[in-house]
């Protein structure tokens, strides 16, 4: 027990745990929307477009965290909204538009990177470093959590209608287009706030794994949101404790690994949708089927 509680005594760990809990919850909560709206590819593209944003941020503002935040935000919004615009104004579908835009943006980042000598500090954004969370990062986490979760929770009903069937929702007067746009903006905000903790590469796991886990376990939309948030929170805190206790275990990877294990457990053992359950429960129900006919035929 003491072994587990030990990390909570240090101030830098308290800060990391608080940040991890906030980021984990927000990502898990938002992840449900991303999974159901099938935005995983969009999220992946956006996470990659954060890097060039960071480079541009460094070039314009130097290493100040606000400048990096702004650069990442602008680049991700550019890719997200640009791909929507291309998909709507031409015969191309969104996945292709996204693929082109994010690789072009990423290339711009690489080209610019060869002119800027800050490679080392940017590496830190590739895989994250939650132990190095500064107070300013923590404030960003608070702000993003306090925007994302209440907004999504307040608009839960119209979002539910939109995610289930956008045409029916639209015919009922739901502002489907505006909700989709809002979702993308919140997605970008959340990703940018998670950068410092888990990095560009791993933040997709933090976003998708909790929602995928809870999706294997329940058939209720509210349960998916809050359950996803809870799994994200527990997974992040557990990953952090683990990385603190096991020498040389990087924190971002530890968090995503814990979440990955949770997902595979759900995938295998979910009572209703798990693989194992489906194999074990293979009853043929022949008796029940025969019982439909009257007995007097014998």
């Amino acid at each position: 027990m003491d072994w587990l509680l030990e990390p909570f005594r240090h101030e830098f760990m308290q800060r990391a745990l608080l940040g991890g809990a906030l980021i984990g919850f927000t990502n898990g909560f938002l992840g449900a929307f991303v999974v159901l709206r099938r935005l995983a590819l969009m999220a992946d593209s956006l996470s990659h477009s954060l890097l060039p944003g960071l480079v541009i941020g460094v070039m314009v503002f130097g290493l100040a965290p606000q400048g990096l935040f702004l650069g990442a935000l602008v680049a991700a919004l550019f890719v997200a909204l640009g791909s929507q615009m291309i998909a709507r104004s031409s015969r191309l579908k969104e996945d292709t538009a996204l693929g082109i835009l994010y690789t072009v943006t990423f290339s711009i980042g690489l080209v610019l990177l060869s002119f800027v000598k800050v490679r080392v500090s940017l590496m830190h954004y590739l895989f994250g470093n939650i132990i190095g969370l500064a107070d300013s990062d923590l404030w960003v986490c608070y702000a993003v959590t306090l925007i994302t979760v209440p907004v999504l929770a307040a608009l839960q009903r119209p979002f539910l209608l939109t995610l289930f069937e956008p045409n029916v929702a639209r015919s009922q007067g739901v502002a489907v287009g505006a909700l989709n746009l809002l979702l993308i903006v919140l997605l970008v905000l959340t990703m940018v706030s998670s950068l410092q903790a888990v990095g560009v590469i791993l933040l997709l796991g933090l976003l998708l794994a909790p929602a995928a886990t809870i999706y294997m376990l329940c058939d209720s939309f509210p349960a998916m949101l809050w359950g996803g948030g809870l799994i994200g929170l527990v997974g992040s805190v557990a990953g952090l404790v683990l990385s603190n206790r096991v020498p040389n275990l990087p924190s971002g990877a530890a968090i995503v690994l814990v979440l990955g294990v949770m997902f595979f457990v759900a995938y295998l053992f979910s009572p209703r949708y798990g693989i194992i359950g489906r194999l074990v429960r293979r009853r043929h129900l022949h008796e029940e089927s025969l019982a439909r006919w009257p007995k007097d035929r014998e």
């Binding site: 029916v168 015919s171 009922q172 007067g173 999706y215």
Partner: protein, 254 residues
């Protein structure tokens, strides 16, 4: 809402409706009026504009010309009084919701995003589930339903929404005979409650069994009226025997 009083305004009026896809009109200057308390079939070949007309009535497509009025009031865009039911293939049935959850979605349209979901609302959902004979499957996830049950779940959602006009896109497609009969009986029940049901349909042999009225379409409105008056060979020929308008053809020499 008064039910039963079939005053002239208790109807859907469509005047001069034109709707385009990619700048090619799919539905041209259609005008018709249908009274509530009926089942109306939209008939016509593929590409005749049946789905387009349904979507336009549901407020999903911009109207190029024309206007709609329901119960004497003009309708612009989406309204909770109309319920649109897409084709079954268009829906992700793995969505995390039970039959009850799906029916509650109809209620949210009335309650609003922040309104309290009261016991009255729960009762309305109970009633909708009961009238669509879904009580035994209330807590099933929606992919574990048969095609007919899925269709009925959406009808129950529309009932919970207190919709008066039901716009159904090919509701009978893919259903076997007993399921079709069941759906037909349920639609008749809705009709008796004064609802107006407009459904696209392609099986001509079942039209007289299911519907009271038909609208023959092929880009234009070809004929409209009670089944006994307009559902005959000549109109069928006129609707199905003419090539579908694509906007690019030049039947005459230049």
């Amino acid at each position: 809402m008064r039910i039963g009083a079939r005053t002239p305004s208790h109807s859907l009026q469509v005047s001069d409706l034109t709707v385009s896809y990619h700048r090619i009109p799919a539905v041209h200057h259609m005008s018709f009026e249908v009274a509530c308390g009926q089942c109306v079939a939209l008939l016509g070949p593929n590409g005749a504009g049946k789905s387009t007309l349904l979507k336009a009535l549901a407020g999903l497509l911009p109207l190029e010309t024309g206007s709609l009025a329901f119960h004497g009031r003009p309708v612009r865009g989406a309204t909770p009084e109309f319920a649109y039911l897409p084709q079954r293939e268009a829906i992700d049935w793995d969505f995390p919701t039970t039959v009850r959850g799906l029916v509650e979605m109809g209620r949210y349209v009335r309650v609003g995003p922040w309104g309290r979901y009261s016991s009255e609302d729960a009762k309305a959902v109970d009633a909708a589930i009961a009238s669509m004979q879904l009580g035994a499957w209330e807590h099933r996830q929606v992919s574990a339903l048969s095609g007919g049950q899925q269709q009925r779940s959406f009808l129950a959602r529309a009932l919970a929404q207190e919709a008066h006009l039901f716009l159904l896109d090919e509701p009978f497609t893919g259903l076997d005979k007993p399921t079709q009969d069941n759906l037909r009986a349920l639609l008749r029940g809705l009709r008796e409650q004064g609802k107006l049901i407009i459904a696209s349909h392609h099986d001509l042999t079942t039209v007289p069994d299911i519907f009271d009225r038909v609208l023959f379409l092929n880009g234009e409105l070809i004929a409209a009226g009670p089944v006994s008056e307009v559902f005959h060979e000549e109109n069928i020929q006129r609707a199905y025997g003419t090539r579908v308008f694509s906007g690019h053809e030049h039947p005459h020499e230049h």
